[in-house]
């Protein structure tokens, strides 16, 4: 654990002003530009109308940012492997697992930071936040779990390939359906049957609906019956996080000894 924290600390200390700005500005642009731009069109599809669209889509942007963070974290790991920086860790008396954990912690930290920024922006733009601080903590845990799951997938891929181009190609293939084949930007009920099935096996749907219930409850215009039940959200995210870490662990074991 000491080594994982050291590696996390090292990665975080490298966070430059530019990167922090990027982490901040990207979700802000999504919420402000996409949210405002789309609410006129999408608002009619969302129960409650266009005033509720910001609250409706903000959790989706949280998921999108977590995805982006995991992809970036995977590239950092790939780069460290390619440049041989990883050898410094490998000749040190530290558990191999701590390298995986250090990378995962870094990705999760950045995602949580972005999630909080997005909620703040959402509230500034008119979304209403639930008057339920323990629920916020639950929401944060859901985001963390989702982020851990994707961090695992990205790190596993980055352990298996030696080619940044191939890594990004595969990740890009995953990226689009994860966002669009979900309830992140439009309600489940508005989707055709086959997309609903896809959305139900997509972890993104669960983190998004979980956040709609725990963090931005009031004002998104959704009745509780239209959302995936909270317990399902929790179970799905726990399973997803476990799956991601397991994949990463297996890939790490074969990539580094």
């Amino acid at each position: 654990m000491n080594a994982a924290i050291t590696l996390w600390n090292k990665q975080m200390s490298k966070l430059s002003g530019e990167e922090t700005f990027g982490l901040l500005i990207q979700p802000i642009l999504w919420v402000v530009l996409f949210g405002v731009g789309m609410k006129g069109v999408m608002g009619s599809a969302v129960p409650g109308g266009d005033d509720f669209y910001i609250a409706f889509m903000a959790p989706g942007i949280v998921a999108l940012s977590a995805l982006g963070g995991a992809i970036a974290g995977g590239s950092v790991w790939l780069d460290e492997r390619m440049r041989g920086i990883v050898k410094e860790y490998l000749v040190a008396p530290i558990p191999r697992l701590s390298i995986l954990l250090g990378n995962t912690f870094t990705i999760v930290t950045k995602s949580l930071f972005q999630a909080i920024v997005i909620f703040v922006i959402g509230v500034l733009m008119g979304a209403q936040i639930a008057n339920n601080p323990p629920g916020w903590v639950g929401g944060i845990l859901l985001v963390a779990g989702y982020s851990i799951g994707f961090a695992g997938i990205a790190l596993a891929l980055a352990s298996k390939t030696n080619d940044p181009g191939a890594y990004h190609a595969v990740i890009f293939l995953l990226n689009l359906p994860l966002l669009f084949l979900s309830n992140a930007l439009y309600p489940l009920s508005s989707l055709p049957q086959w997309m609903q099935i896809g959305a139900r096996i997509n972890p993104t749907s669960y983190v998004v609906d979980g956040l709609r219930q725990l963090v931005l409850t009031n004002g998104n215009g959704l009745a509780s019956g239209e959302l995936l039940p909270l317990w399902q959200c929790a179970v799905a995210i726990i399973l997803f996080a476990t799956l991601g870490m397991w994949l990463a662990y297996v890939a790490f074991r074969s990539a580094i000894r």
Binding site: N2, T6, N9, K10, K14, K87, E88, P93
Partner: protein, 314 residues
């Protein structure tokens, strides 16, 4: 058993069909410098990677600092320092950060970590640059920083893979000084790889010439060079070389005749005195000498003799 810092027995590493290392055995006494000398692709880095627990041998076993590299990898790691052939530094960090994060991986206390960092940065003369990002460092500075990082944990055995690769003469000499100092003052054992003949000759107590995954000759630089005779006559020419060489071999003062491509090399008892006879014989045997020189033999000549190839200083 405890007199040796590195004991490797019959190490083999196969990558697919390729034998990168083929039956290497090494016994390196404590507090000595051993140089693995060989061309690129000879198996130097693979050997080091096995000894530093980065990869596992296909066959054979090794103990480093008294611990088995397979079953006691963690203990080996705790007792070694390593610098790699390529620069493995995180450009975005400062020199000081690179050192302290490294120390933290080894669970140093904060005070211990800071003291060690300051001491070692001073040793490699990087105090002034310590708080600058590594991306602003020159190649020589990066090498020195890596050396300092390798020493951070007070290793018993230090592995240096091509420590002076690509450095200018001034930086090379500096690194040599540090290496000698480490052995003398700190009692370290060092295993370094190099393809610079002069480096091995200058630094090493023992040199192993490695080629195509095997150690083909081992000994102290002096022993190896002494075996080459007192002087070496090196020449290039054309004509009936075969016959000429046969005749040369029969001269009593010629101890050995070696050829490598167009180059012929003779080990003789006294080069200056014998030069005239060698040239005269060439004339009578119909061999035209284009270029001839006499020199004290060096490790380069040893290498030429055992591998039949030249190891260029490039």
């Amino acid at each position: 058993m405890n007199d040796y810092a590195v004991e490797a027995k019959n190490l083999v590493k196969r990558f697919g069909d390729i034998d990168a290392v083929n039956n290497v055995s090494l016994m390196i006494p404590k507090n000595s410098i051993y140089a693995l000398l060989g061309p690129n692709g000879a198996g130097k880095t693979t050997t080091i990677s096995m000894l530093t627990t980065l990869i596992q041998p296909t066959q054979g076993s090794a103990r480093v600092a008294g611990y088995d590299v397979l079953s006691q990898a963690d203990k080996v790691r705790r007792n070694i320092g390593v610098t790699f052939q390529e620069t493995v530094l995180d450009d975005a960090l400062t020199g000081r950060q690179a050192m302290t994060y490294h120390g933290r991986l080894y669970r140093f206390s904060k005070a211990e970590n800071e003291a060690k960092t300051a001491e070692l940065l001073a040793m490699v003369e990087l105090e002034d640059a310590a708080d600058r990002a590594i991306k602003t460092y020159s190649g020589g500075m990066k090498r020195r920083l890596e050396l300092a990082r390798g020493l951070m944990t007070e290793p018993q055995v230090l592995f240096l893979d091509e420590p002076t690769l690509g450095l200018d003469p001034q930086n090379r000499t500096k690194i040599w000084e540090y290496i000698q100092d480490l052995k003398q003052r700190k009692g370290l054992t060092l295993l370094l790889t190099t393809h610079y003949m002069d480096e091995a000759e200058q630094l090493a107590d023992c040199v192993g010439i490695i080629d195509a995954g095997c150690i083909i000759k081992e000994g102290s630089p002096k022993e190896l060079i002494d075996q080459m005779g007192k002087d070496a006559i090196t020449m290039i020419g054309y004509g009936n070389r075969e016959r000429y060489l046969e005749q040369l071999g029969q001269l009593p003062f010629v101890q050995a005749v070696t050829t490598a491509g167009p180059i012929t090399q003779l080990a003789v008892d006294a080069g200056n005195r014998r030069l005239a006879e060698v040239v005269t014989l060439a004339n009578t045997e119909g061999f035209t000498i284009e270029d001839i020189s006499v020199a004290k033999p060096s490790l380069a000549d040893v290498f030429l003799k055992y591998t039949g190839r030249q190891l260029r200083d490039k």
